[in-house]
Symmetry: C2
Subunit: 327 residues, 2 copies
DNA sequence: TTGAAAGCGCTAACAC
DNA sequence: GTGTTAGCGCTTTCAA
């Protein structure tokens, strides 16, 4: 391994000069700078980022803590974050918490220990503890859900999206829409439930809700349970695309045709939604943009710009009516 | 920030003893160890991983360089890698190259500079240069595609999968299957093309192939082009699920029904494949397992176990016949 | 403008 | 079994 001293010797200057030129800091004599660059080049010198990080007491990596990269929503968020990071010289550490409080806590510790420059977090719930990060001076921005602490947050207008979707179902003439949503203590799950209930209440129909884990098996089980119950729904508002995968599978198994036998709207405009026949009506949220925006907020904190008080932003949720919600 | 010296002072021992107990290295007197732990706990001590990394001259992070985390295949690979990493005390740095040679090279440099413990790479093509990593003693394992260098590699039997899928199409009575695949210089694209051609040649029909970028727009364009051409195909073998999204969209736009008007098999068992009506026949590959296996190979290198020569492994590609390929 | 030198916080010889 | 101490490779005062 060739180190800074080797370059200095080859260029016949001090290590300080090498450091300065390579970081194009203060003014270095152009002639010397040229010698340094040539020496570095010919020796194949690569600065050791670990040493630099230690000395500078900061790194150029962000940690991204989400529940599951296989959830297409978070996949897009991650891509948005990564693009923002890369174009500003940062790399991103990917952490899947799997909605597991303990694993999430461990990742937060790792992030603190690694002295990441910043952290973007989709917290398990409001009880997620980021105090250690804060104490270490590591800025954190929250996405998708919110966190107890006073932090920059960017979310989708989940409740509103759910309300509009359910109202739409009702307006189309479906009489008994059910809400299939995530765990009651997951903020998005509850917000979408609340929005849906708002519409249902206004309409004077029953609240048919199932809270299940945010995956396709959860969706399948909820759909089966609802369809076998006495209070059988005739339409579904499904709180995300993974749940919908299970719901649609179960409907298909029962030969129930969406858009005629039952109505359906799901949250998240998955790429396959318009491919199904009938095409699935969705509430679309801007996942990639959410990641990008979180990156921007983080950059603001990193550069010290931005307001003192935490920013709380909402991205729109847009109903896209296709066929599955029509009668 | 509380550091190791503070803990040592509080426990009235030397920093060496603190280090030893916290790394449960050599034997430390249980009583002292207890004092150290108590002190560390009460001071809220968190070891500085950066300092440790510098001193140990190795880190506990892996870099994962793929083309695009939004490609569901790589999403699953990433999850497999992350799980393997986490359960062995490593974190993973996520790098999207977007099939861009230059961006890939930059990420390899970052990985080298950060002194990652190891790297898992889906290379742009065989010309990807990992010599700097090798020189730095960083083990790299290659996934999905291969790399010029002599490296551990884990791939899917792409060619065989493609051949079987195309043979199946032919056996079902489709007369003119076309192959829609990725860029000619992407190894998987070429392997799947080659496999498909093998079947087509044996059957004595024309080779109808389109090389396009590995995304849904590429698939859409290729399908449109083929359907408008003089040599109109009556079936499609599509080399991955992102391409298939575009192909299926185009078919739908033209009101062409899969499984009756045209036959179709796609590579990758996307979660939505069985939801379409008719359900899509697929060649399934084990993406999650590929990531996990890559992790295992990397761990072997890291621990020095494993054979001296590079391992070259293939995971099976399995045809799952559903409805889209039937007449 | 340049160089000497003091650390960043930790681990691992080495000595006791 | 425990402590002292010399670095890991770099950046950054501080002097010159």
């Amino acid at each position: 391994m060739v180190k800074i001293g080797d370059v200095a010797a080859a260029a016949d200057v001090s290590v300080a000069t090498v450091s300065r030129t390579l970081n194009n800091n203060s003014t270095v004599d152009p002639a010397l700078a040229e010698r340094v660059r040539a020496a570095a080049e010919s020796l194949g010198y690569r600065p050791n980022a670990v040493a630099r990080n230690l000395r500078r007491r900061r790194t150029s990596v962000w940690a991204l803590v989400i529940t599951d990269i296989e959830n297409p929503f978070y996949t897009a968020v991650a891509r948005g974050v990564e693009d923002a990071a890369r174009s500003n010289g940062y790399s991103v550490l990917l952490c899947n918490s799997d909605e597991d409080q303990e694993r999430e806590a461990r990742y937060l510790q790792v992030a603190a220990g690694e002295h990441v420059a910043g952290l973007i977090l989709a917290p398990r719930n409001a009880s997620t503890d980021v105090s250690e990060l804060r104490a270490a001076g590591i800025p954190v921005v929250v996405v998708d859900r919110s966190c107890g602490a006073e932090l920059d947050t960017v979310r989708t207008k989940s409740s509103e999206g759910a309300r509009i979707a359910t109202e739409h179902l009702l307006a189309e003439g479906w009489r008994r829409p059910a809400c299939i949503t995530g765990p009651a203590d997951a903020e998005t799950a509850e917000a979408r439930h609340a929005g849906s209930v708002l519409a249902v209440d206004a309409h004077g129909t029953d609240d048919l809700t199932r809270h299940v884990s945010y995956d396709s098996e959860g969706g399948r089980a909820a759909a089966a349970d609802l369809l076998d119950s006495d209070a059988r729904p005739d339409a579904f508002f499904v709180a995300n695309s993974m749940l919908a995968l299970g719901v649609l599978g179960e409907l298909r198994r029962r030969a129930l045709r969406v858009g005629s036998d039952v109505g359906l709207v799901m949250f998240d405009d998955a790429p396959w939604a318009r491919l199904l026949d009938p095409a699935i009506s969705v509430v679309s949220q801007s996942a990639y943009e959410m990641g990008g925006r979180a990156g921007e907020l983080l950059l603001d904190r990193l550069s010290g710009s931005g307001p003192a008080e935490p920013r709380n932003e909402y991205l729109p949720a847009t109903l896209i009516v296709r066929e599955s919600s029509r009668r």
